[in-house]
Each structure stands twice: as structure tokens, then as C-alpha cells.
């Protein structure tokens, strides 16, 4: 599961890591019903299921997109989601609004 080959010209499982990734991700183990929805929607295989609970396995790979929080039927996940785009962040600072981009 925890394969850590950072990119290759061959098609291998890549774990892309980034600064501050996944720092705000929290699972409330008491609320978690172990349904596995977070495993299904996560684009970077951050979660694993163990003892009928979702656990964070690859925190560094979490881009904080928020799909798990939005789709958790038990409301057991917390994460501060947003676009991870420097241009949007700069635009947000200049316009003093929340980071947003016209580009994508």
C-alpha cells in the first residue's frame, strides 16, 4: 500500500507529496461507520480501512480537495478544502477575496 516511488517514466504507482498536504484532515473515529465511501472518492488513496474504521494512511498525498468530507454520510471527516493553485492564491491576495481562479 505504502509504495513510495516518486515518479518515473514507467507507469508505476506514484505518491505525489507536497508541503502542508493533509494537515487539516481529521477523521472522527467515533462517528466513522466504516462504509468506505472516503476510500472510493479519494483521488490519491489517502485512506485505508482497518477494523471497520477509515484511517489516514498517506497524509502527505492529501491535497485537501474535500471529496471525502462532502461524501461522508456519517459526517465523520473534517478538512479545510480549497484550490491548490498559486496563481489563484495570488489573485485572492490582490483582490482580497478567497483564492479563486478564472483559469480552470
Amino acid at each position: 500500500m505504502n509504495i513510495d516511488i516518486t515518479g518515473s517514466f514507467k507507469e508505476v504507482t506514484v505518491v505525489w507529496k507536497y508541503i502542508k498536504n493533509g494537515e487539516s484532515l481529521l477523521i472522527d473515529a467515533d462517528k466513522c461507520t466504516g462504509c468506505g465511501t472516503c476510500l472510493e472518492v479519494c483521488p490519491h488513496s489517502v485512506f485505508i480501512l482497518k477494523y471497520k474504521k477509515a484511517l489516514i494512511n498517506l497524509r502527505d498525498a492529501c491535497m485537501e480537495c474535500g471529496a471525502c468530507k462532502l461524501n461522508c454520510p456519517a459526517g465523520a471527516i473534517e478538512v479545510n478544502s480549497g484550490v491548490g493553485c498559486a496563481a489563484a492564491v495570488i489573485g485572492g491576495m490582490l483582490g482580497k477575496k478567497a483564492p479563486d481562479c478564472g483559469c480552470c
Binding site: 517514466f9 507507469e11 505525489w16 507529496k17 498536504n21 480549497g82 483564492p99
Partner: protein, 335 residues
């Protein structure tokens, strides 16, 4: 346009075959031409000979997304719901909420889907989960939301396999082809930066005398090649450059670039120093902007990176301009 009649509704049929115009349009948006106005009309479409049992898929109304989906549905009989995402692709639109629960529910109800199909399942692209709450949409429509594969090319296999995803179907890949595919847009979006560098080079080469062109040409090559390194070489080398912050990775690439150019072109120490101070921040900045094209960066990380690195880039860049002024005025003895 052809239509199919089912349960009293007339549903437009679309082809799985892309025309030359579709391919050209797709190529243009890859270069940021007409990219913000490349839309299809939202609503329900049929593909092949869809019936009551045919699967229902959902996509965005960015025409490039729509074309990729329908191309990959060739030979299948299916329904396709196109959400109004303002011409934005699924993942980005989901991040903004336009590919969202309310829009999905609205399209399912407005299209009269419950009368058209006998089953109660709708397949969404997995990346739509960033904007859609599946359990809430199900409560509102009685349709079960199934997250399909990330990539349209896996849809047929996914449906044939009884809507089961294998490992590769839910992973977002970001291989060198994916990374290069987004580079042309970065190039076009760097056009203001390129223009600024051309002006800078033109000013640096003053005064207008017989050897103006001889001073201008190498500067132009240094600056344009630096932008190209940031736009094309950086995405290729992304996994191999040290550090996690893109601006630091870009800084490393900038240093390598300057060493290479100074070596190949036999630039003087002072000239190399000025080149480094100008081009390293440029490459670092372009690299940092690649966070927006990448598939794995958090907003918290991007914010930290912008706050820490922009002041450094600015200071180094201004130092480069100052050094060049000193050189022009011959204060430091020139060569």
C-alpha cells in the same frame, strides 16, 4: 440533429465520432485559445440506441470533457447528462461547486430521467465527488450516485465489469504526458512575463549603438530559454527535482539552467551573476504557477509557498536589475 423518443420525451442523440472541427477545437483549447468559451448546451443526451435499461452518465459542459466522454462511449448505448459547469472541466468545476449536488439534482429532475430509465443509478466521474454529495443527491432524487472511473477511457470497462473499479481506475495519474499536455497553456499564460523580459532585455542592451544587436541577442536567448525551461522542462523534471515546494524545485532548475547556459555560452562571471538573478526567480515563479496545473497540491501549501517565496523572488530580481545598472554605468569595472 437526430432525436430519440422515449416515454413521450424527445432526447437529442449525439455521435461518438469526433469531427475534424472537434479535434481542431480541442487542440486550440490546449493552447488556451477560446478555452473560456468552449461549451456545449447542458441537458440530457442519448448516445447509440439508448433504452430504459441503458446506463446514465454525467459530465461537465466543457466541450473538451464532453468530446472525450462521448468518444469513449463508442459502441455503447447510454444516456449522458451534461451539467452546466460554465464551460469548466469536471474537477475544477467540482472544486468551485458548479459541478455540484444542486446542479445534478436539478438536471436529473428537469430531464424527467425517472420516466426515461427503469433503473435508479447514475454514474458520475469520480473527480465530481469534490463538488457532489452522493448521499444527499440520492435523498433528493431517489437515484443512487455511483462514482465511476477518473478517466473516460475506463468507462466501458467499468460498466462491463458490473460497475466495479479496479485499482488504476480511481487513481489520478500525473505522468510525463499528462504534465506536458498542460504546458502549452502555461506558456500562453506566461506571455505577459515574456513581454516584460523582452522589454527588460531591450533596456539592458542600451545605448543604441552599432553593437546594440550584439548585446540584445544573447539576452533574448537567455530570457526566452529560461521561460521555456520553466514551462516545458520543469513539468518533465517535476518528480526528480528536490524539495516539495514548487518554487524551490524551480529554483534548483534555475540554478542548473544558469550553470548550463554560462558554461555553453562562455558568459563572464559578472554576466552570469546578472543572468542568474534575473532568470532564477523567473523559472521559480513559472514553476510555482504549475501548482495550478498539478493534481496534488493543497491550498494551504500553495498559500504558504506564495507568502514565503514571492518576497525572495522580488528581492533577487530587483538585485539583478540593480547589478545590471551598475554594470552599464561601469561602476564595478564592467567585464
Amino acid at each position: 440533429m437526430e432525436y430519440t423518443e422515449i416515454s413521450g420525451s424527445k432526447i437529442p442523440l449525439i455521435s461518438a465520432k469526433l469531427t475534424l472541427a472537434d479535434l481542431l477545437g480541442g487542440l486550440m483549447v490546449r493552447f488556451d485559445i477560446n478555452r473560456n468559451n468552449y461549451k456545449v448546451r447542458p441537458g440530457l443526451y442519448g448516445i447509440g440506441k439508448p433504452g430504459q435499461d441503458s446506463p446514465v452518465l454525467v459530465t461537465a459542459n466543457y466541450k473538451l470533457s464532453f468530446d472525450i466522454v462521448r468518444k469513449n462511449l463508442e459502441g455503447l448505448n447510454a444516456w449522458l447528462i451534461v451539467l452546466d459547469t460554465k464551460g469548466i472541466n469536471v474537477w475544477c468545476a467540482a472544486g468551485k461547486g458548479t459541478f455540484g449536488t444542486i446542479e445534478l439534482v436539478k438536471r436529473i429532475i428537469e430531464s424527467g430521467l425517472e420516466k426515461i430509465v427503469s433503473h435508479r443509478t447514475v454514474i458520475l466521474p469520480q473527480l465530481g465527488a469534490v463538488g457532489v454529495s452522493a448521499y444527499k443527491a440520492r435523498m433528493m432524487t431517489k437515484f443512487k450516485i455511483v462514482y465511476g472511473p477518473v478517466r473516460a477511457c475506463d468507462i466501458k470497462k467499468f460498466i462491463a465489469g458490473g460497475m466495479e473499479k479496479d485499482a488504476g481506475m480511481s487513481e489520478v495519474s500525473f505522468n510525463w504526458r499528462d504534465r506536458l499536455a498542460v504546458a502549452p497553456v502555461e506558456l500562453v499564460q506566461s506571455s505577459a512575463l515574456i513581454a516584460a523580459l523582452i522589454i527588460l532585455g531591450a533596456v539592458f542592451s542600451l545605448p543604441f549603438d552599432k553593437s546594440y544587436a550584439a548585446r540584445l541577442a544573447p539576452l533574448m536567448i537567455q530570457y526566452i530559454a529560461a521561460v521555456l525551461a520553466g514551462v516545458f522542462v520543469f513539468p518533465l523534471l517535476l518528480p526528480y527535482l528536490p524539495f516539495r515546494a514548487f518554487s524551490l524545485k524551480g529554483g534548483v532548475l534555475g540554478i542548473l539552467y544558469c550553470l548550463l547556459i554560462a558554461f555553453i555560452c562562455h558568459i563572464s562571471f559578472y554576466g552570469s551573476l546578472i543572468m542568474s538573478f534575473i532568470t532564477i526567480p523567473v523559472i521559480s515563479f513559472i514553476a510555482m504557477n504549475f501548482t495550478g496545473s498539478s493534481t496534488f497540491t493543497s491550498q494551504a501549501g500553495a498559500t504558504l509557498e506564495v507568502k514565503r517565496s514571492i518576497p525572495v523572488m522580488a528581492v533577487v530580481f530587483i538585485a539583478g536589475i540593480s547589478l545590471n545598472i551598475l554594470k552599464t554605468l561601469n561602476i564595478l569595472g564592467g567585464h
